[in-house]
Symmetry: C2
Subunit: 122 residues, 2 copies
């Protein structure tokens, strides 16, 4: 059964929920890395440095329910992508400023992080 996960439609994405979802270091680290990874999807397994399988599953669900990421099952994996354009249309500029801010302040922002396209730079 092609079991699609529930995602809020763009017009239902709420600012307090988004802020709450991002107000956690683990989830902030996840979206920062997703952003730095450009359009390429990532899997839950790529975030195990930040917690147990259970913890990552929990945080990914929070991000999905808030409307920040999209999760698509593929085989036994889940492909995670930022809902960049949805967030941009709903809260213009918001995500980019958050991503840019994480660069300066995140403890998880270690040198061994995957460096990819610069954020905010399309």
């Amino acid at each position: 059964m092609t079991d699609y996960l529930p995602h809020p439609p763009v017009e239902y994405i709420a600012l307090p929920a988004v802020l709450t979802a991002l107000g956690d270091e683990t989830r902030l680290a996840i979206i920062a890395i997703l952003a730095r990874n450009g359009e390429r999807a990532m899997t839950c397994g790529q975030f195990l440095q930040f917690g147990s399988k259970t913890a990552i599953s929990y945080h990914v669900a929070k991000l999905r329910e808030a409307g920040i990421i999209h999760v698509r099952p593929e085989g036994t994996k889940r492909l995670l992508t930022l809902r960049r354009s949805d967030l941009e249309s709903r809260f213009p500029g918001f995500l980019d400023t958050v991503i840019a801010s994480t660069a300066a302040t995140l403890p998880y922002n270690s040198p061994d992080m995957p460096e990819a396209a610069q954020f905010a730079g399309e």
Copy 2:
């Protein structure tokens, strides 16, 4: 005793703490109104529409501890101001995009709110 309240210095303002503090409808409403009020300080009493005295005191403390607002005692009142320039220097563009986003989505954004200078417009 000129009892000053503790405020984090600008370099200690942390993104997760700021996001968490803003991830609450009452606090979001408070900062949205403060922003629309320009440079003018406001008092706790002006936010009693959003909760009891105790509740407002609690939320104001959260905003202060996160580094989002500055609180200065004056007489029996507290004068609240947004730490606009501190936030701008630490997380460029962030506060403005949040304020702008509240305009579209806040339930507290009722027609009987004090309309003042546009936000983001200095």
